[in-house]
């Protein structure tokens, strides 16, 4: 495929939305109250909707009979290229919110640049997604503030979640071969340029939430190259269950 880099680049964006949407989907019906349950499901719906748009475009690039579901469901674990952050489990509500916040802050900055992509399909998807992700970011950062500056217990839980998840933030800025090629073409976003704004945004919110900024300089990476945490296999088990058990059927 001549567009291989473009195809890989799209998967990189799509897999983040797919995997985070899947994680949030696990919580539907189990939230701390009805309003938050509905909000988390909303975010899941937005992310899966975005993932569908990206996968449909990827399927079109791949050509032949390829459909969105073939790409979304039928790759091996090593072929999924989402960042490690989004596959982290729903350990408790603080982790769910922490994961969302650390991703949303990046996602919003990323989409604000991606809307200027020279690829008109990608640009259109990004434009639509910005509205949704602005809401996600407001929701998650409001909850970081509530939990951080709530009770002693909630502060501790929120701080633990941020400390544990911080190690996955640096990978958001790693650039694969496909990323680099797409930056040169004016299609992709040069994420290196977003790093400062990203950590600045986190710092502001965490301060307001009366939380400490983690000082650790050790970061995990691998997802973007298909090397995932141990959680990923179980997530894919669920995601792929029907497509693997009953191959080649229409649903």
């Amino acid at each position: 495929m001549s567009n291989n880099f473009l195809y890989q680049y799209i998967l990189g964006i799509a897999d983040n939305s797919l995997v985070l949407g899947q994680r949030l989907g696990e919580l539907c019906g189990h939230g701390p109250n009805l309003e938050t349950d509905i909000a988390c499901t909303n975010i899941s719906l937005d992310l899966l909707g975005q993932a569908r748009s990206y996968f449909q475009y990827a399927a079109q690039l791949k050509g032949g009979d390829t459909k969105e579901d073939d790409i979304a469901f039928l790759r091996t674990e090593r072929e999924y290229v989402n960042v490690l952050l989004v596959e982290q489990p729903n350990t408790d509500f603080a982790y769910t919110i922490g994961r969302q916040f650390l991703f949303d802050a990046f996602h919003l900055l990323f989409l604000q640049e991606l809307q200027h992509s020279h690829d008109i399909t990608i640009s259109a998807i990004a434009k639509k997604a910005i509205k949704e992700v602005s809401y996600h970011y407001r929701f998650s950062s409001d909850w970081v503030k509530r939990l951080g500056d709530g009770t002693e217990e909630s502060r501790l839980k929120m701080q633990n979640a941020i400390n544990d998840l911080w190690t996955y933030t640096d990978e958001l800025f790693h650039q694969t071969e496909a990323d680099k090629a797409m930056i040169v073409e004016g299609i992709g976003v040069d994420t290196a340029k977003l790093k400062e704004a990203y950590y600045h945004a986190l710092t502001e919110i965490l301060k307001e939430a009366t939380l400490d900024i983690p000082e650790s300089k050790w970061f995990q990476k691998g997802g973007k190259n298909g090397v995932h945490t141990e959680h990923m296999g179980y997530l894919l088990n669920d995601l792929q269950y029907m497509q693997r058990t009953y191959p080649n059927l229409e649903w």
Binding site: C28, G29, T41, D69, R146, L147, T151, Q243, W251
Partner: protein
């Protein structure tokens, strides 16, 4: 208030209902009317919330992205229904916390159908088609019920339910027209969900304790048996259309009555599930109570944060 005055108010109240006027939260109402409505509306709200669980069970495993998104949206609609029904119930002078307490301690009931497990993807189709189909038949008359907030909530609920029902039927149709495995999955789901769906209309009229009073207050417009018959008459041709067989050897069209005759419902099973001994009663309750308990610190934090914010604001102003 003297007994005569109360009698007079009651007479005026019954006359308003007879004239099809809506009763609003601030209007005077007999205590029994209030209690009956709290019971029914909360039972309905609880059913929506517990009903999220069997379907939620398939969100992570839905077979395609399109189906996953539709299922998520559907389960979210149910959360929304729960929300307006709890709000309608709160207008009768009971708090959401009290209502949850009643659910969690088993004092309040929810629809027994949700105590059955969803074991295959086809169960998601069967729930939409049969369970939502039965719910609509039960609920459409409630759009004209006498209590205003309930009637208004039901208008919206019914619109969404009818969308869910079509979506469920479409899942079943796709399976029934699919591979032998898919068709078998669809038939198996119909076999398991058919009888519990018939039980959703409640005991036979002879056994139903609430029917008479509820008919008077327009909480009910038709009896359990009439509604059940309507469901059967409507659903059997749909099953035939997609080539599935309703699991009732006694099912037969009756030219004389213009309705289907049907076999005997296993009421022992119904009462067993109502009394807490269905396949998933314990799981459903554990899931609800668990979510509530795990969420306690979150709700406490939100309250504490709101109070801090308020007091900072007050200080600034002061």
């Amino acid at each position: 208030m003297s007994e005569a005055q109360i009698k007079d108010l009651e007479a005026q109240f019954e006359a308003r209902i007879a004239r099809d006027e809506k009763i609003e939260p601030k209007d005077w109402m007999p205590e029994k009317y209030r209690k009956t409505h709290i019971r029914q509306i909360s039972q309905h709200a609880h059913s929506e919330i517990v009903g999220m669980l069997p379907e939620g069970n398939w969100i992570t495993r839905a077979p395609s992205l399109r189906r996953k998104v539709a299922l998520l949206a559907k389960v979210q609609d149910e959360a929304g229904h729960g929300l307006y029904l709890y709000s309608a119930c709160e207008t009768l002078g009971i708090s959401r916390e009290e209502l949850y307490e009643q659910l969690h301690t088993g004092k309040a009931k929810y629809s027994s159908i949700f105590n059955y497990p969803t074991v295959t993807w086809a169960d998601i189709g069967a729930i939409g088609w049969l369970v939502d189909g039965a719910a609509i038949i039960n609920q459409v008359p409630l759009c004209n019920t006498s209590y205003g907030p309930y009637a208004r909530a039901m208008v919206r609920v019914c619109k969404e339910e009818s969308f869910h029902q079509r979506q469920g039927f479409e899942i079943m149709m796709k399976l029934a027209q699919g591979s032998p495995d898919q068709k078998e999955m669809a038939q198996d789901a119909l076999n398991r969900w058919w009888w519990p769906s018939l039980m959703m209309f409640g005991p036979t009229d002879a056994e139903s304790v609430h029917t008479e009073q509820s008919m008077k207050w327009k909480l009910k417009r038709k009896t359990n048996d009439e509604l059940r018959q309507q469901f059967i008459d409507q659903t059997v041709p749909q099953a035939e259309l997609i080539g599935l067989t309703v699991p009732d050897p006694d099912l037969k069209w009756n030219e004389e009555t213009g309705h289907y005759d049907f076999g005997k419902i296993d009421w022992d099973e119904f009462w067993q599930v109502v009394k807490g001994h269905g396949p998933c009663n314990r799981e459903r309750m554990n899931a609800r109570v668990g979510a509530w308990e795990r969420g306690q610190w979150v709700r406490d934090a939100a309250m504490a944060h709101a109070e801090k914010k308020q007091s900072r604001k007050t200080k600034k102003v002061g």
